[in-house]
């Protein structure tokens, strides 16, 4: 509301430009945008499954309806981004982005999948812990190695022997 009044007196082109700049600096603008994208996806794909009638609803009815609701909510969230004054914390990234650590954490499960599939539970566990542990700034290669080895042994013992998870402990691609 306040924003609208503030801009009322200015020439329209300038106003549009400022409004736009204001919008793209808002976190909620992206939040709403993401919801709209998801909603569009659901609403456009939904009818393919067959919407049916209101009495005999098809499998596509609910996704379409939810998609439309999501779009509306997205518009509402992005819309309120204009109306509210600039907040304190509008940045999407935190103060100190941890790209490396994030990468390490995401790489951990990936390592588990790759090494677990081809080399077995212990290598999967070891690599998962080792790689993800490197993300911490205070971690050294040595401490990560020790941690990975220790938790790897204990974890493999627990899950393979005690809980009987059917996954080979150590294997080789091709060997069965």
């Amino acid at each position: 509301m306040r924003a609208a009044r503030e801009f009322a007196g200015r020439p329209s082109k300038d106003r549009e430009e400022r409004l736009l700049r204001r919008l793209i600096s808002k976190r909620d603008f992206y939040a709403g945008g993401m919801l709209i994208l998801f909603g569009l996806g659901a609403a456009l794909k939904g009818p393919d499954y067959g919407s049916g009638t209101l009495m005999h609803m098809g499998p596509g009815f609910m996704p379409t309806a939810l998609g439309v609701i999501l779009i509306l909510l997205g518009i509402a969230i992005a819309g309120t981004a204009i109306a509210t004054p600039a907040g304190v914390d509008e940045r999407i990234l935190p103060d100190h982005p941890q790209w490396f650590a994030w990468g390490c954490i995401l790489a951990g499960p990936l390592m588990f999948i790759i090494f677990g599939t081809y080399f077995g539970m212990f290598p999967g566990t070891f690599m998962c812990i080792f790689v993800s542990a490197l993300g911490d700034k205070t971690q050294t290669y040595k401490s990560a190695f020790v941690l990975a080895a220790l938790v790897g042994v204990v974890g493999t013992g627990l899950f393979a022997y005690l809980l009987q998870v059917p996954m080979p402990i150590l294997t080789w691609p091709g060997a069965s």
């Binding site: 909510l73 999948i113 401490s143």
Partner: protein
């Protein structure tokens, strides 16, 4: 009526005291307590990580163990908040306000032992409520048709998503997102595969465990990594002998415990207002009735006991709609309900009748578990204190491994580890965009049943959408939904005229760490829990 409840409860004790069930309950409480104490592990993360351990158990054992994990984790979180000033679970944010100053004065042990008693009292009250209210609620709910169930679910979903923290619109958006995620997989009515994108692994839908561990595991680790300084354990060296309260302490805590219990149980009755709101209201009330309100924040024992009693009383109360109606009030309850569904048990009003051993066994095990909690925490406090000192750099990689192996062990399927990874990445994105992912779980668990009942209601009413307002009970629920939305809009549009206290409590909620004077672990406060 009362006598049947008591007989059922007696049978429940029979179930819960069976040696193997007792063992699972003990194991749940112990593990939940242990993991919950670890800095940064809230109940949601703890339950999700320990969930795979229960897959091999029978349903009764599994739910007893998970319930044990839940209140164990809850209490472990209290230890973490009081001794380290690190609230891992939002309801504990207010516990820190007076708990940590007490620790600094060397009275942290007393605060903990008294809060264990307060929690026990609150929980006992909540359990008693559950015993007598659930059968009544079930009797009413069994009369419900599809339309009523549908409107009731709508109310539950709306309340759960708008009354949680953060923007209500975003909460609703997350719930809708959750329902959409719940749609993925084969449609039960027609067999159509929806949103599987040709991946046969998705035919059975997204796994609850993958979703929970992605959102509360991986996303949470990404949020917390490198965000905190070494945990300060300078004050947390609490020994067994430090835990004995004086007579004066005991006397001081009687009324706060009672007040907290009542507040908690009232909050549990209003759908959607879970333990977080209960603990805030309890703290504010305690401050109001106190003769020395200015002393709050400097280590008033009342400010610890009352919110703790309220939290536990309200958590137990939350089980009432979850177990008797199949409608969870928050993400923790949704997770427990989801675990029951994994065991092949359909939630809803018929649960108590069809599986009395589960319901009454659970009720009885609450008491047993809460006693175990008291027994465990007093002697083991020294060990818990040592656990507090585990640095995050060792914690999260190990936890990540538990996430991976847990998801794999659920179905022996690597695909689901990948699923968890993708969900985790997506969950972190949501966190950065200021969404709270907890309602996703709520929508995900309730979504499929909502759709089913909606379809059935439409079929029965011959496609007349008006059925929801024509049937009186359903109309009441819809009316409550409208009221809820109207209230939210009113609160938003009203000029911000709040008392200083409300602001203080609110800042305590969003920035508990700063309140304690320690600028660290700010990321923790956006923890996606409840």
């Amino acid at each position: 009526m009362i006598s049947t409840a008591l007989i059922d409860l007696w049978n429940g004790f029979g179930v819960a005291l069976e040696p193997h069930n007792l063992m699972w309950c003990f194991l749940g409480v112990f593990l939940g307590n242990m993991v919950g104490v670890l800095p940064g592990m809230g109940p949601l993360a703890t339950i999700s990580i320990l969930l795979p351990l229960t897959f091999g158990l029978k349903p009764v054992g599994a739910i007893l163990m998970l319930a044990g994990v839940m209140y164990g984790a809850q209490y472990g979180g209290a230890i973490c908040s009081v001794l380290l000033n690190l609230p891992c679970h939002p309801p504990h944010a207010v516990t820190c306000l007076d708990g940590f100053p007490l620790t600094k004065q060397g009275r942290g042990g007393v605060a903990l032992s008294l809060s264990v008693m307060g929690s026990f009292f609150g929980a006992s009250w909540g359990i008693t409520e559950m015993i007598f209210l659930s059968p009544v609620l079930v009797r009413v709910a069994l009369q419900f048709g599809a339309a009523e169930i549908c409107s009731l679910m709508l109310l539950g979903l709306l309340a759960g998503s708008t009354l949680a923290r953060g923007s209500p619109v975003k909460g609703v958006a997350m719930t809708v997102m959750g329902i959409l995620l719940g749609i993925v997989g084969t449609d039960i009515n027609s067999g159509t595969e929806r949103f599987t994108f040709g991946m046969t692994e998705l035919d059975d839908g997204i796994e609850l465990i993958a979703l929970a561990l992605g959102l509360f595991g991986i996303a949470e680790f990404m949020n917390s990594v490198n965000q905190q300084a070494a945990v300060d354990t300078k004050y947390s060296n609490v020994k067994f002998s430090d835990m004995r309260p004086t007579k004066a302490d005991l006397k001081r805590t009687i009324f706060p415990t009672l007040r907290g219990t009542i507040i908690g149980s009232l909050c549990a009755l209003i759908p959607g207002t879970g333990p977080t709101i209960a603990s805030f209201v309890a703290y504010a009330t305690e401050k109001k009735v106190s003769k020395t309100p200015e002393k709050f924040g400097t280590g008033m024992i009342e400010g610890v006991i009352c919110p703790e009693a309220a939290t536990h009383s309200s958590v137990q109360g939350d089980f009432i709609p979850t177990m008797s109606l199949g409608i969870p009030g928050d993400a923790v309850m949704a997770l427990l309900l989801g675990a029951l569904m994994i065991q092949g048990i359909a939630p809803g009003p018929q649960l108590i009748k069809e599986h009395p051993d589960i319901f009454w066994g659970l009720v009885a095990s609450f008491w047993i578990g809460n006693i175990l909690l008291v027994l465990l925490n007093v002697p083991l406090i020294g060990i818990w204190v040592k656990l507090l000192a585990i640095p995050y750099r060792y914690l999260y990689p190990s936890a990540l491994f538990f996430v991976c192996i847990g998801v794999y062990a659920a179905n022996n399927d690597m695909f689901q580890v990948g699923e968890t990874l993708v969900i985790g990445f997506f969950g972190y994105l949501l966190l950065r965009l200021d969404f709270h992912p907890a309602p996703i779980l709520l929508g995900f668990v309730m979504g499929p049943r909502f759709e089913e009942n909606f379809r059935r209601a439409m079929l029965l009413s011959r496609g007349d959408i008006g059925v929801f307002v024509e049937r009186p009970i359903s109309a009441v629920f819809i009316g409550l939904c409208a009221l809820l939305i109207a209230l939210q809009v009113y609160v938003r549009l009203r000029p911000p005229k709040r008392s200083a206290e409300e602001v203080a409590v609110e800042t305590a909620a969003t920035e508990p760490i700063a309140q304690g004077g320690l600028a660290r672990a700010t990321a923790r406060t956006d923890a996606p829990q409840h």
